[in-house]
Symmetry: C2
Subunit: 269 residues, 2 copies
DNA sequence: AGCGTAAGTATCACGATATAATACTTAGTG
DNA sequence: CACTAAGTATTATATCGTGATACTTACGCT
C-alpha cells in the first residue's frame, strides 16, 4: 500500500513534516465513543509514547484545538473544531446552492432531509435538516458511512460508468450496522442496476432497524453524481407506496434543481 | 501578552512543538472569504516562508486534511473538517440533550432556531435548524460572533455575577456588522440589566438589517449560563408584541428544559 | 487513614529531522 | 514566443523535536 512517490509519508521525504502528522493523529483519536481522553488514553490510541503525546497534547491545548478539564485532566475537542466545519461550508459551493432547496423540501414533506457527498468509498452527510426526533447520529452533519450501505451512495454509484461501478461494487467496504444490513454484493448490484433505470434508491433497515431511506442523485446531465439528496423516514408510517407518492416527486425535483456550478471544481479529493 | 509560564508557546519550551503549531496556522488561513488558497496565498496569510508553507501544505494534503485541485493547484478544506465537527458533537453533551427539544421548538414556532454556546468573549452557534430561507451564514453551525453583539451573548451575560458582568461589558469586543449595530456599551449594559429581570433578550438589526433576534439562557438554578436558545425572525412580520406572545413562551420553556447534566464538566476552555 | 501504584508533569543531553536557500519546472501573460 | 511568477524538487546545516528519566500529584486498596 505504501507508495514511494516523491511525496509519500515517512522516511526521508523532506516535504513531509512528521511532527505535524503526529499532531493530527491526536485529533483523529477523538470520535463517537472517545470524547474525553486522558494523556495515557491518547498515547494508547495514537501509538505515540508518553513524552510525545504530552508534547503534542500540550501544543494543541495551547493553540486552542483541545480543551482540557483541569479537574479530570482529560482533553476534548474544542469549539475550534466547529469553526473548521464553518470554514469548510464556505468552501463547498454545493452546500450554498443546495441549502434553500433543502429547507423548502423539508417543509414540503415534513421529514428529515440530508445532503450527502461522496468521499472516497464512503458518503458523508454534509447538511442535515432534522424535522422529527431521530437518533443523535442522524441529526448532526459530518457522519461518514460506507457508500454501499447507504441509499445515497447507491444512487450516486448508479450514475457511474459501468466499469467503475463494477469495481466499486466489488471493492468498496461494507459494515453490518443492523442484522438486516445488506452484505450480499450481488443484491446491492441489483439495487444499483435498478437505480440506473429509476433514478432513485429506496432501502430499508440498513443503518438502523425500521428506518427507510430514499435518495436521488445530484448531477449535471451526462455527468457522474458526487452528491445526493436523501431522506430518512420510519418504516411504520411509510410503506413504499406512500413514499413514491408523497416524497419521491419532491425529492427528485429538489435533487435535479441542485446542479453543480458551471465552472465547478467540485469533485473533491 | 506573551507569558513566560512553563508552557507558553515559542522559545525554548520543550513541551511545545512549533512545527505542529505552524501546521495549524495553515488550517486557520481558511475562512468565509478564503476558501481555496494557492501556495503563495497560504504563505502570505500564515507569514511562513515559501519552503515552510510548501512542506506543511504537502503534509496536510497527504494526511487528508487539505484537498488540492490538480488543475488550479489550490488547496481547500477537506471532508475531514466536517468529520471533526462530528467528533465535536459527540463530546458536547449539551447538544445531545438539546437537539430533540430544539427540533420540537422549531416545529412549534416555524422559525429558525439556534443553540449558542459561550466561547471566551464570543458566542458560537453550535446547532442551527433553519426553517425559512435565510442568508447562508445563518444556516450553518460553527459561526463565532462577539458575545456583546448578539442576543444570545447578552442573555448569558445577564446570568453572570455583577463583577464579571461589568468586566465583560467594558472589555469584550464589538464589531459594527450593520449601520444599526449597537456600539454604545452603556446601551448594551441596559439591555443586559433588563434581561436580569426578564430572563430574555430581544434585539434588532445587530447582525443584519431587519432581523430580530430573541434569546433565553440555558442554566441550572443559581448557575451562570454558558449556552442559550436563540431564534431569528424577520422584523417585518414580527413586531415585539407578536414575539412575546407566539415565540417567547415556547423559547423559554425550551431553554429551561435543557438544564446541564448533573455531573456536567461543561464550561469549556 | 496511609500506603502503593499509576497517571500526569517537568527536565535535559542527544541527534534525527525540520529548515531555508537554491535550483529546476511548469503555467499563465503581454 | 519570450518573460515572469508560481509551483516543485534538492541538499547541507543546526535547530528543534526526541524519549529516557526523575519528580509530583491523584486515586484505589487493605
Amino acid at each position: 500500500m505504501t507508495s514511494d512517490s516523491p511525496h509519500a509519508p515517512g522516511k526521508q521525504n523532506t516535504l513531509y513534516v512528521g511532527a505535524l502528522a503526529k499532531g493530527l493523529r491526536l485529533l483523529h483519536a477523538f470520535d463517537e465513543s472517545h470524547t474525553r481522553l486522558s494523556l495515557s488514553e491518547l498515547s494508547e490510541r495514537t501509538g505515540l509514547d508518553k513524552s510525545a503525546t504530552q508534547r503534542f497534547a500540550n501544543t494543541l491545548h495551547l493553540e486552542g484545538m483541545l480543551d482540557k478539564d483541569p479537574r479530570t485532566r482529560r482533553y476534548s475537542p474544542s469549539h475550534a473544531w466547529l469553526q473548521m466545519a464553518y470554514a469548510y461550508y464556505w468552501s463547498d459551493t454545493l452546500v450554498a446552492r443546495a441549502m434553500p432547496r433543502l429547507i423548502e423540501l423539508s417543509q414540503q414533506i415534513g421529514e428529515t432531509v440530508n445532503l450527502a457527498e461522496l468521499s472516497e468509498d464512503h458518503i458523508i452527510y454534509v447538511s442535515r435538516l432534522p424535522c422529527k426526533r431521530t437518533h443523535f447520529a442522524a441529526s448532526i452533519a459530518g457522519r461518514r458511512l460506507p457508500a454501499l450501505s447507504t441509499s445515497a451512495g447507491r444512487v450516486m454509484l448508479s450514475t457511474f460508468p459501468e466499469a467503475e461501478r463494477q469495481e466499486a461494487l466489488q471493492n468498496w467496504p461494507l459494515h453490518p450496522y443492523t442484522p438486516r444490513t445488506t452484505l450480499d454484493r450481488g443484491k446491492i448490484a441489483d439495487m444499483v442496476a435498478q437505480a440506473v433505470e429509476q433514478g432513485y434508491v429506496i432501502s430499508h433497515h440498513e443503518m438502523i432497524l425500521n428506518e427507510t431511506s430514499i435518495a436521488a442523485p445530484v448531477r449535471s446531465p451526462g455527468q457522474t453524481a458526487f452528491a445526493a439528496v436523501q431522506c430518512s423516514v420510519s418504516s411504520y408510517s411509510w410503506p413504499e407506496e406512500r413514499i413514491r407518492e408523497e416524497i419521491l416527486p419532491y425529492l427528485q425535483d429538489t435533487a435535479n434543481s441542485i446542479s453543480p456550478a458551471p465552472d465547478s471544481p467540485e469533485p473533491r479529493g
